[in-house]
Amino acid sequence: MLLIPCPWCGPREDDEFTFGGEADIPRPADPDALTDEQWADYLFMRDNRRGRHREQWCHTAGCRRWFIVERDTVTNEILGASTYGNSS
C-alpha cells in the first residue's frame, strides 16, 4: 500500500487514487508539424525510469485533482507531491 500525499487532502491510501503515467509529457502544440516518428514518440515512448520518477496521480475518490508525485521506483518512497498550475 502506498500512502500518497494529496497536495490538498493530505496522505491517503492508494485505493483513493488513479495513476496517470509519467508526468511532464505535454501534448505538442502543433501535432501536424510532427513526423510520424515524433508523434509515436509522444504517444508511446516512456522513460520507465529506475529511481526518481515524476508521475501523475488523480485523487479520484477525494478532491478529483490531478497532481504530480515524485516517487522512487525502486523503493516506492514518495519524495514529494506538487500541484499543477501556480499554487504550490
Partner: protein, 201 residues
C-alpha cells in the same frame, strides 16, 4: 415552488416523511437539498456574492465545512463545494445562486436526487466506521466540522464530523446507498446499532 409528486429516497423513504427518529443512532436523512458549486476561489467578488446568498463564507481550507443558520458548505476540492440544507428548496437555491453569479465563471448544479445522507451517531460510531474507512477519525485529527471524501468499504463517500457524540453524516451517491446502508448495518450489528424500521432497506 411546491411539488405535488412525492419524492422517494434511495433507502425507501417517501415524502412526506415521519419526523426523524432522533433517538436513533443510524438513519437516513432523506430529501435534503444538495447543490454542487464550483467557482474560482481567487474570485473574491464571487465569494462575496455567495456569502450574501448563503449567509456562510465558503470554506477555503481543504477538508473543512462551514455551517450557517440554515446551510452547511463542505469543501470538496479547491474550486468545488457541496451545499447541504433542509431549509431551501433545490430549485430556489440554484436560482438564487445563479442570479448572484451572473456573468461570473461558476457552476451551480442541483444534485439532490443523486445522493443521500446517512447519519451515524453514538459512542461506537468511530468503531463502526473504522471497519471500512482508512482515515484516522480520532477527534484529535478529525474534529467536528471536518469533512473528507474517501472510501467507505468499497464505495466513495463524503464524511462530515457533526459533533463530538460523535456523530457523522455520510453522503453517498444514490446507486451506492443500498450497499453502504447494508454495510453500515452489518458493521453496526457488532455494536448493537440498527437502522430504524421506517427505512425499508
Amino acid at each position: 415552488m411546491s411539488n405535488p409528486i412525492p419524492r422517494r429516497s434511495p433507502l425507501g423513504a417517501i415524502e412526506p416523511t415521519q419526523p426523524l427518529p432522533h433517538e436513533g443512532q443510524l438513519f437516513e436523512r432523506p430529501f435534503l437539498t444538495h447543490v454542487n458549486l464550483r467557482l474560482d476561489p481567487a474570485d473574491s467578488e464571487a465569494l462575496a456574492a455567495i456569502q450574501q446568498v448563503l449567509g456562510v463564507r465558503l470554506p477555503l481550507t481543504p477538508n473543512t465545512t462551514a455551517a450557517g443558520q440554515e446551510l452547511l458548505a463542505a469543501w470538496l476540492g479547491p474550486d468545488e463545494w457541496l451545499l447541504l440544507t433542509e431549509h431551501h428548496h433545490p430549485d430556489s437555491l440554484v436560482t438564487d445562486l445563479q442570479a448572484a453569479l451572473t456573468a461570473r465563471f461558476a457552476s451551480v448544479v442541483d444534485t439532490s436526487a443523486g445522493q443521500t445522507v446517512i447519519r451515524l451517531s453514538g459512542p461506537s460510531a468511530l468503531d463502526v466506521l473504522a471497519r471500512g474507512c482508512a482515515l484516522d477519525l480520532h477527534p484529535s485529527v478529525f474534529p467536528p466540522g471536518a469533512c473528507a471524501q474517501t472510501m467507505l468499504a468499497r464505495a466513495q463517500a463524503l464524511l462530515i464530523a457533526v459533533d463530538d457524540t460523535p456523530t457523522f453524516d455520510i453522503i453517498v451517491r444514490r446507486s451506492f446507498a443500498p450497499y453502504v446502508a447494508a454495510w453500515l448495518k452489518d458493521s453496526a450489528r457488532d455494536f448493537g446499532l440498527r437502522f430504524p424500521d421506517s427505512n425499508a432497506t
